[in-house]
Symmetry: C2
């Protein structure tokens, strides 16, 4: 199979796109990275993901696969010869899927809510939610990692990717708000894991540098503040 038959539609600051890139790195798959421009959507994106019109989209042999966690599972299954991304045991897989869904459905909305929060009270409430989520995830880390470095054991896996992709934006949030959200005193397992995750070979070249991402965040928030209000 020609390597050029693999395209990823994405953008460097997106944590969801990063999931797909890390999965492809783990399997040592070369791909064309088509970056979408902020504020516009390419024709290829609109055709490839007509339901959501969102990145990431992986296009493999002209067939599009959408939704970041579905892409990660696809990459794991389509290139099964490389290192496994999901755990091999069915129960461990179920637990990894459970926490990955928790991250997307519950925890990430708190982090994203912090960026939108207006006023000190709303910000504090969002920060409390982010930290409460970390306490639950610290417990999950203890159970999943079984004393090893990653949720996936000796190497990064599905749940590492699901949570780790947000570490860049977490650091931006910490920097912009002048607070510590992932606190080594309260969640030592996760704090140590975060450092090891960012240093992993499959991660380090796709994890955005905090200053660069902070600059992007300022442009993004400014663009949103200047946008006209919704129609109703």
């Amino acid at each position: 199979m020609a390597e050029s038959e693999i395209k990823l539609l994405g953008a460097w600051p997106s944590p969801f796109v990063m999931r797909a890139r890390i999965a492809l790195n783990i399997k040592s798959i070369d791909y064309e990275f088509h970056q979408e421009k902020l504020g516009s959507k390419s024709q290829l994106l609109l055709e490839s993901n007509p339901v959501y019109k969102k990145i990431p989209v992986l296009i493999h042999d002209q067939k599009p696969i959408c939704e970041s966690l579905i892409i990660v599972q696809y990459v794991d299954e389509a290139w099964s010869s490389g290192p496994s991304i999901l755990p091999s045991d069915p129960y461990d897989r179920a637990i990894a899927r459970f926490w990955a869904a928790y991250i997307d459905d519950k925890w990430f909305p708190s982090l994203s809510g912090l960026a939108k929060a207006q006023g000190e009270e709303a910000k504090k409430a969002a920060m409390d939610q982010v930290r409460e989520g970390f306490l639950l995830l610290e417990e999950a880390f203890g159970k999943c990692s079984k004393g090893k470095d990653f949720f996936g054991g000796d190497r990064i896996g599905y749940l590492d990717i699901a949570l780790g992709c947000f570490l860049g934006w977490l650091r931006v949030s910490e920097k912009m708000n002048g607070v510590k959200l992932l606190d080594a005193a309260k969640t030592p397992g996760l704090a140590g894991w975060a450092d090891k995750f960012c240093g992993d070979d499959a991660v380090k070249d796709v994890m955005p540098e905090t200053d660069k991402l902070t600059e992007f965040a300022k442009i993004l928030f400014q663009a949103k503040a200047n946008a006209p209000p919704p129609a109703n």
Copy 2:
């Protein structure tokens, strides 16, 4: 492994619980069905699903698995000797996962919104959303079924279960609103599929009879109408 080591915490009217029951039926697994009472949660449920405190929970060898679609995948992987529930091809699996997530994230909220809608205009908007979802799912059915009876091909699979579990509540909605939502004229593939799904051996004994479910719906909606308003 003793069959008594498999418990399902659920309730007969729940479409999400039905997903787990159909999956267990496909694999011919006997299990203890622990029904939760409306308006209360058992100690076993609170301990087994401390994050969401929701049914269904599958307990296999004392280990709880939560979230209906995760349970279905677990059943498929833990009892791999039985018929497959997910497609074997990685791309087909990704597509099945994509539409199952669409059903939960986009389509079901429309159906559930119809039950809550106040006034004719809100009801009409919710019904339009349900029907628009069916048009998309009709297209997905054409692609996934490849001319066969089910999304899964010759037999029911993951996506059949994900959508089919709502057919009982869909019929209740149609009956209570005096409308047709799944219309054979507009979505002939889905209409034919729905009949075959409900008649399937793994489904027919767990799909609630429409009159019984309608009676339950009236009690449920009355209980909600009588509940005190939320604190803020």
